[in-house]
């Protein structure tokens, strides 16, 4: 597979961008890029009519704004995306299996693909399909969720942590410039795998526990000593697994355990009773991103011989919650 050609923006500073996956994250960052002057198309399925009728309404802690009706280039099929400079995949990881058919038609010779998704081994999958040279990862540290169709509630934060699948600094700088140029808070990681594990340090305990404890917010976890202790143990296991993974890949980067725990718990304290995306999916009966956020890290740890009992427990229990949602695990019908 060949590297992507240089970007050929239609006019200086203006990129052609396509966003696949119009959840809260994809809609928000796509709208920010459009507001910054880029040519953005959105692949929208469920909410297409609503988005065409009312545009995109971004209610953001950083300032509300609207892409008006008629001002959102929303398309129903991948063919409508063209072959952009940047193809941002903001699908849920549960839809990763269908990503090839959704993204493939839009990948031209100059197209770069950004996995704006949670979890581990996401770029690796895209790289198998499209070649690692054109693949990037982006992790959004953002408290955000969707309201009614066409409305996004951006509650807090918004930093993007990005990297290139081959850790090519010139390529990473291209994505950095695009995002920073749109006024977004962006940090480039010299090591995308490190950045993935760093994000998992939050997602594993807080997404995992928010579902395993029955659909609760971050404040409930922090306020309950046994749940809080469980969150910390899970986080420390992610650090151990991540560091073993980095070492096995020849990287000298290491996640600092105590500092990570202190920083992420302090951060979470500021979030209010934040509903993780996984808790919202759980409470709405939607598929859970359990394999990308818990299954892949647990399997990575097992392959490396790292013992991660708390992660194992969260994986089994959140997976069971997902099976219940799908009707593949039935609860008891009490007789009495």
């Amino acid at each position: 597979m060949t590297p992507p050609t240089r970007p050929r923006y239609p006019s200086p500073g203006m990129a052609r961008i396509a966003v696949v996956g119009a959840g809260a994250v994809g809609s928000y960052y796509g709208a920010r890029l459009q507001r910054a002057g880029h040519d953005v198309r959105f692949l929208v399925r469920r909410d297409l009519a609503a988005v065409q009728a009312r545009g995109l309404d971004i209610r953001s802690v950083d300032g509300d704004f609207t892409l008006p009706p008629g001002g959102v280039h929303a398309v129903a099929t991948p063919a409508g995306l063209g072959q952009p400079d940047w193809l941002i995949c903001a699908l849920k990881t549960t839809a990763l299996g269908s990503a090839r058919s959704l993204l493939g038609p839009a990948v031209g010779s100059q197209t770069r693909v950004v996995a704006l998704m949670n979890g581990l081994n996401v770029e690796e999958q895209l790289a198998r399909w499209f070649g690692p040279e054109r693949v990037f990862g982006a992790m959004a540290f953002v408290c955000i969720n969707r309201g009614e169709p066409g409305v996004v509630h951006h509650l807090r934060y918004g930093r993007l942590s990005i990297g290139h699948a081959c850790d090519d600094p010139d390529e990473a700088a291209r994505l950095h410039d695009l995002l920073a140029g749109a006024g977004l808070d962006v940090v480039t990681s010299p090591n995308l795998r490190y950045a993935r594990w760093e994000k998992l340090c939050w997602n594993v305990p807080f997404n995992g526990l928010s579902v395993a404890a029955g659909g609760v917010g971050t404040e409930s976890i922090l306020a309950d000593p046994p749940l809080r202790a469980l969150a910390e143990r899970a986080m420390r296991e992610v650090v151990l697994a991540g560091n073993a993974d980095l070492a096995a890949r020849g990287s000298s980067a290491r996640l600092p355990g105590d500092e990570t725990v202190a920083r992420l718990f302090a951060l979470t304290e500021t979030m209010g009773d934040y509903a993780t995306s996984m808790a919202l999916d759980y409470l709405h009966g939607r598929p859970l991103e359990v394999e990308a956020i818990l299954g892949e890290p647990v399997r990575a740890a097992a392959a490396l011989g790292v013992t991660v009992p708390t992660m194992d427990a969260l994986y089994a229990l959140v997976r069971a919650a997902g099976l219940r949602i799908r009707g593949d695990l039935t609860t008891i019908e009490p007789a009495g």
Copy 2:
């Protein structure tokens, strides 16, 4: 505190027995003792009118039988129990705090108290109130639950594992004779603490997971590889904690890990999709026996310096389920 005096049965072979706690277990074993000719009184609160009107209907794998209306000596207050030879406490451990006031009036000089309950540190509590010499433990290995008021469904098994709080073999033999004389399957443990941990080897994983996985039966746990693996890890942690506890108490008894896992999983395979008592409590929104079955073992392990991460996780998550039931932990109200 003085030891209990010798039993003074009203006629040879006939004991005066009182059962406090008329759940499935208390009702079943009390009815079996009455059927064997003993004078049994039942302290019944919620279902008193129903039991007086229709008696006790035992639908048992070992043969159905009925204590007819008028043939059940059911009383509403402890004062009605008299001071029996044997006072069987079959309360849920969540009611252990109220046990002193319920049992106390019925404890005469010759009364022996049997804790027919799950969990750890149950006899220890009764012994603080009534003296260890008169306190016994009994664990029921039985698949049983309550139907409509006055009806008990005894599905499978029924063995009682018993011991004396001071491990006095003569005392243990007295209880053994009472129960075996009623045709019950009874095994006397020379070491009650060992017997408690042995029972926890099943209760911790299967009661715990049946709730943590959302209210599922044993078959669902066994059929799902990650849940099954979690059950085994929890069981092995109980073995470790139990053996450390026994060692710390100067006992040479040890739970055999591999044999326990093999035996209890084989046993559980024969249970069908059994609903644990804790799963039924969870699905009915009743208090969960989380402290006796999970909290006390976890605290014992912590005090002994034994690492039990799977038990820790089950404790925190089942406790959270109990808090949700009580309304002390609220789930998210999804906005979208």
